[in-house]
Point group: C2
């Protein structure tokens, strides 16, 4: 009998769950809808995972039954959650899911053990390692890069360009969490001190205002005559067809991204920057445009960086959560 | 008989050497002049420490004789060097000392062993752990903060405001080196994309152009009517006497510093920012002015940072080098 790890990726719409071997090979994956209602939220308070965690635990146990896996063969569960998670395993709020502050590690472990006891009649405590979802995606892409290139990268910056911009910093092989799980919040470094529009975080000129899918559309409409309804994908597609305004928009997007990445790389000096998230599907056009500007904004000794497009797509989160669990097994 | 660690701080003018207990208590310190001539430099090539390393090794052995310490009681030597040092112990160039690229760890260990064999008649190899000098000062101040407050800080940004601006990032208790020893080069993050004057690194708008001693003087002369010969200390002294132009100059200096620190803290989320270097002697006026602006530039979840003025002054380097050696002893 082998040993197993579960990797969980909690999203606003769906929760993805992967069953992995102890070598982090994906055996099977499933998905459940994210429960929207939550007892405390109905009372007008912040949720503490009272619906989400049992839903995940039930799905894990369902897979265990289906695959005929005993709880004692589960090494650990990793879980990516869309909010800052500190080193104790506390989630420190999550606006997308209306989560408050609570010990997600302890709660998840308790609920999972209870359901295992009830459903499988086993008295086993499985360790759960929660982490931020962008961190989780970053670890997943690190794993993939190593698998593809046969080379271990120890210093990595991962940036995810989606509806917002998030990221992860991996320093000497280890995920940087920071003092309250906020390390890698690189969507909110400021790249334009003259910006008049406000970012969701309340500041002006955050990288997210230029480099997220929403940000690109904002630039396209504000400066390049694109109309309501245009998507980031439309803009990249038109740029690939040499549409002049789309090319200018991609150039401006990449210029701000280069400014942001220049500063980030002067602080943490990575060997590789992995670009993920929905926007990264545009591919090498992003890298080509970043490289036009990047060296103007990074401290020269830190300039030797490889840019790489993420490869795991929607599976990055479950892979990374499984890697994090695997790294944390004592 | 106790065990000992040496901490070395290589500067452009002087090399400071501290003898420490294995608990990193300072027992004694000395200083030698930095040898300026070096064989390779005379040939127009880059130096590889052929004069500096033997000079340090000789001084270490002199102290050992004076204190009657056997080589087998030396646990390790840490050495802060003004250039990027990678995880292997290579220095990757050092313009201030005309150093080229070489394995400073291996060379230092070989020369130290040879001198110990000759002078003390002992056949012992002592491990040497080289690191960047700003990193070393950062570790020294981390040690001091822990000693003073009885609390261990795991996530720290150290910034040194001297002739230039350097720094160190400590993540989860460990010094971040980055892929080629360039992590913490926070003097060259860009805080003003409209700057017309050029930084020494070739870019425009680096934090160093505003927050170093030289940078403050530049601001004072360019914008506030100060004349040639004014020093950073003069400006802070006048600000403390409520001189209007000096107050404006300190305000502008702190505003740029807040912009830089905001971005740095969004990337690595430290619990404390320690401000060192000669400029930090101005004291709390710096913190008071940073705090006026800081929260406008940091991602709100990372905003809860304590600012602290460095306390070890010129001894930070030897303390930090000793701490680094101590941390690396297997």
């Amino acid at each position: 009998m082998g040993k197993y790890i579960f990797g969980v990726d909690v999203g606003g719409t769906a929760i993805k769950i992967g069953l992995f071997s102890d070598g982090v090979d994906l055996i099977k994956k499933t998905s459940i809808a994210t429960p929207k209602e939550d007892i405390n939220v109905e009372k007008g308070e912040l949720a503490t995972g009272d619906k989400i965690i049992p839903a995940i635990a039930n799905e894990i146990v369902r897979i265990m039954k289906e695959e005929n896996i005993s709880a004692k063969d589960i090494l650990a569960v990793g879980a990516g959650i869309p909010g800052p998670i500190d080193s104790r395993g506390y989630v420190l709020g999550c606006p997308n899911l209306s989560l408050g502050v609570f010990d997600v590690k302890k709660k998840f472990e308790f609920i999972l053990s209870s359901i295992i006891a009830k459903e499988l009649n086993e008295d086993v405590k499985i360790s759960v390692y929660p982490l931020n979802d962008a961190d989780s995606a970053g670890l997943g892409e690190k794993y993939k890069l190593t698998a593809d290139e046969g080379k271990i990268y120890s210093d990595i910056v991962f940036i995810t360009l989606g509806t917002g911009v998030g990221g992860a910093v991996i320093s000497d092989g280890k995920l940087a969490l920071g003092s309250c799980g906020g390390a890698g919040e690189i969507g909110h470094i400021i790249v334009n001190y003259d910006e008049e529009d406000k970012c969701g975080c309340g500041h002006h000129g955050c990288l997210e205002q230029y480099a997220s899918a929403t940000g690109i559309v904002r630039l396209a409409k504000k400066y390049f005559g694109f109309e309501e309804g245009v998507s980031a994908k439309d803009i990249f597609d038109k740029a690939k067809e040499n549409d002049e305004n789309a090319l200018k928009c991609v150039d401006l997007f990449a210029h701000y991204l280069a400014k942001g990445l220049g500063n980030i790389c002067s602080v943490v000096n990575p060997e590789v920057v992995i670009i993920g998230g929905g926007v990264s599907a545009a591919g090498d056009i992003i890298i080509k445009n970043i490289e036009k500007y990047y060296k103007n904004y990074v401290f020269p000794p830190c300039a030797n960086v490889k840019f790489s497009i993420a490869k795991l797509g929607n599976d990055a989160g479950i892979y990374g959560a499984a890697c994090y669990a695997s790294d944390n097994i004592v």
